[in-house]
């Protein structure tokens, strides 16, 4: 009983801390504490918010995380580099391909491997597909949160087409585990390219159809315009990245600023919208999807022929399955890689990656063994949630769902 009460008092003390600039002259004398979540349809998973209210106005909000904490950083220290790839699927479960690619890029930087050109282009294609799929969910569920149900059904219909293509490519709709250290798992087939091209040909028109439901919708604009405003300075200081930062008018994109893969050879715009409110963040996501379509078209046109795994590094890259059963060298390498890991040199690296939610980064400290000594996952949603208390200060209760929907946190990502 004793422990229970101290736990409650600590989180309540954080809420009741008088650190607030919102002062009301005519307090209605009905201040209350409201617990929102973790089981709430508009909190996108298991986000819990403790709210201190004055009438319908939020005086202070305290986010409470950890309901989906699985300790992936601890697991990473006890698995080999290859074994950890499936775990990355479960971080941001709306865009598993981005996480796969980000993780393998980090390990490749650490171990000094470079994926062959074809694999790099395929990685660009799949991470942009993941971006479209993730933004479709973000836009659709944001519409749902503010009362527009149709948009969710329409964006999910488009996403379903994309997931069917991912099914052909990776063998799974979610939890793809597609990227490998030194390349990708299997090749982009002509069948898959044809399906992707036919999807891309019709997608912009369908997206316009979807957003046509919202762009001039009086209710949607009234619910989102000027709601959840964050200034440029606050957005940078609190560490926002990705569409949320670009929605505050800051042109920052890892793809352009610290290019990885082959993004420096592709032509795309960094979308920024001034305003910093929920509507601006919505417009950033919609326009980014169109940029992603442009990027995928370019990558498909430039897609070179060649191997999809860096077979020139046999001590770091898993060999082809057929050869394991017939060749002695490959059998030895496979045995050593599976049992002892890739043993990258001693050192520490950080590899940033522009995931749909923002900057996803993997810091890896290697002591030369097959297991990482320390892996830190810099997850974008974790930091984006940090801005909720700022943007909610002085907002109405009904704005909370619009704000959370526009910030688009995914708890698998935030809780690690």
């Amino acid at each position: 009983m004793e422990q229970q009460s101290t736990y409650r008092s600590k989180i309540l003390a954080a809420l009741e801390n008088q650190d607030t600039s919102v002062i009301f002259d005519d307090t209605l004398e009905n201040a209350m504490v409201l617990n929102m979540g973790p089981q709430h349809p508009a909190t996108h998973g298991v986000l819990r918010l403790l709210l201190r209210l004055d009438g319908e106005t939020v005086i202070k909000a305290v986010p409470d995380l950890g309901y989906l904490h699985r300790g992936y950083e601890k697991i990473a220290e006890n698995t080999t580099y290859h074994e950890f790839i499936p775990h990355t699927d479960r971080l941001d479960y709306l865009s598993p391909l981005s996480n796969n690619v980000a993780y393998t890029l980090a390990v490749e930087k650490l171990a000094g491997i470079e994926a062959p050109p074809r694999a790099q282009y395929i990685r660009v294609i799949v991470s942009e597909m993941a971006r479209i799929a993730s933004h479709l969910v973000a836009v659709g569920s944001m519409g749902l949160d503010v009362g527009a149900v149709t948009i969710l059904l329409w964006t999910f219909r488009e996403r379903e087409k994309l997931l069917d293509i991912l099914d052909i490519l990776t063998g799974a709709r979610f939890t793809s585990s597609y990227a490998r250290i030194g390349g990708v798992m299997q090749d982009l087939t002509d069948e898959c390219i044809a399906a992707l091209r036919s999807f891309l040909d019709q997608f912009p028109a369908k997206l316009d159809e979807c957003t046509g439901l919202l762009n001039k919708n009086r209710i949607f604009i009234d619910r989102c315009d000027g709601v959840g405003v964050i200034s440029k300075e606050d957005a940078i200081a609190i560490g926002l990245t990705g569409p949320n930062l670009r929605g505050a008018g800051v042109a920052n994109d890892v793809r352009r600023d610290e290019p990885y893969l082959v993004y420096d050879q592709l032509d795309f715009d960094v979308i920024t919208v001034e305003g910093g409110d929920a509507l601006a963040r919505y417009h950033v996501r919609v326009r980014e999807m169109k940029e992603s379509v442009r990027i995928i078209y370019q990558a498909l046109d430039k897609l070179p022929k060649g191997p999809i795994l860096a077979y020139d590094k046999p001590k770091r890259v898993l060999p082809q399955k057929e050869r394991i059963y017939t060749k002695m060298e490959e059998l030895i390498h496979d045995f050593m890689l599976v049992n002892f890991g890739i043993n990258p040199p001693v050192g520490e690296i950080y590899q940033p990656f522009e995931a749909p939610k923002g900057e996803l980064g993997f810091y890896i400290y290697s002591n030369g063994s097959g297991y990482p000594w320390r892996m830190k996952i810099r997850s974008p949603s974790f930091v984006n949630i940090q801005s909720i208390p700022i943007v909610l200060k002085g907002a109405m209760i009904s704005d909370i769902v619009a704000v959370i929907g526009s910030l688009d946190p995914v708890m698998g990502d935030a809780d690690k």
Binding site: M1, Q3, Q4, T6, Y7, K10, I11, A14, N17, D19, L65, G66, H69, G71, E73, K74, I75, N78, K109, L110, G112, D234, I236, A237, I238, G239, T241, V250, N252, D257, E258, G347, E348, I349, Y350, P352, E359, G361, Y363, Y365, R374, K376, R378, F382, V383, I385, Q386, D415, K416
Partner: protein, 159 residues
């Protein structure tokens, strides 16, 4: 502003603060004395335009002296540079000054480092555990914490 200029600027301003530095795979890492971290961070923010703290985390090196490190991942939106600072923290004195006054982004990250390693960020406005329950007694990312957890360390709710 190149890495060399940043490093020279910091060592010129704070000659005794930088314990060591290295560039590995194109990334600059500076190990900074714990007592000077606030001044160095302020200098980097104001003079070298490192306006964003992208990450902050703990490391357990499992060594008798300077067992822990706190690492800061700084990013400059203007110059698009990224550097890493590391602060050694001895097990006997787990206090590290907070940088929340310089970058408000440090709030959640410091709470996470406290939760996972038990590093005490002095002056932090709201230093609570972020992932684990408040009454949890251990620090799970320390190397002496077993992977399978400690039985009965999270008690079931009592009626």
């Amino acid at each position: 502003m190149t890495y060399d200029e940043i490093l020279k600027g910091v060592t010129a301003k704070f000659p005794s603060s930088v314990i060591s530095s290295n560039i590995y795979r194109g990334e600059l890492t500076m190990v900074i004395r714990k007592s000077d971290i606030i001044q160095v961070c302020e200098f980097l923010k104001n003079e070298c335009s490192f306006d964003a703290l992208r990450d902050l985390f703990g490391l357990d090196m499992n060594t008798p002296i300077d067992r822990f490190f706190v690492a800061y991942n700084l990013y400059s939106l203007a110059t698009r540079r990224r550097i890493r600072l590391k602060v050694p923290v001895d097990e006997k004195d787990l206090n590290v000054p907070t940088v929340t006054s310089i970058w408000s982004a440090a709030n959640f990250h410091e709470r996470e480092a406290y939760d996972m390693f038990g590093i005490n960020f002095t002056g932090h406005p709201d230093l609570r555990r972020i992932y684990m329950p408040e009454d949890f007694e251990y620090f799970p990312l320390r190397k002496d914490f077993p992977l399978m957890g400690i039985p009965d360390s999270i008690p079931l709710p009592k009626k």
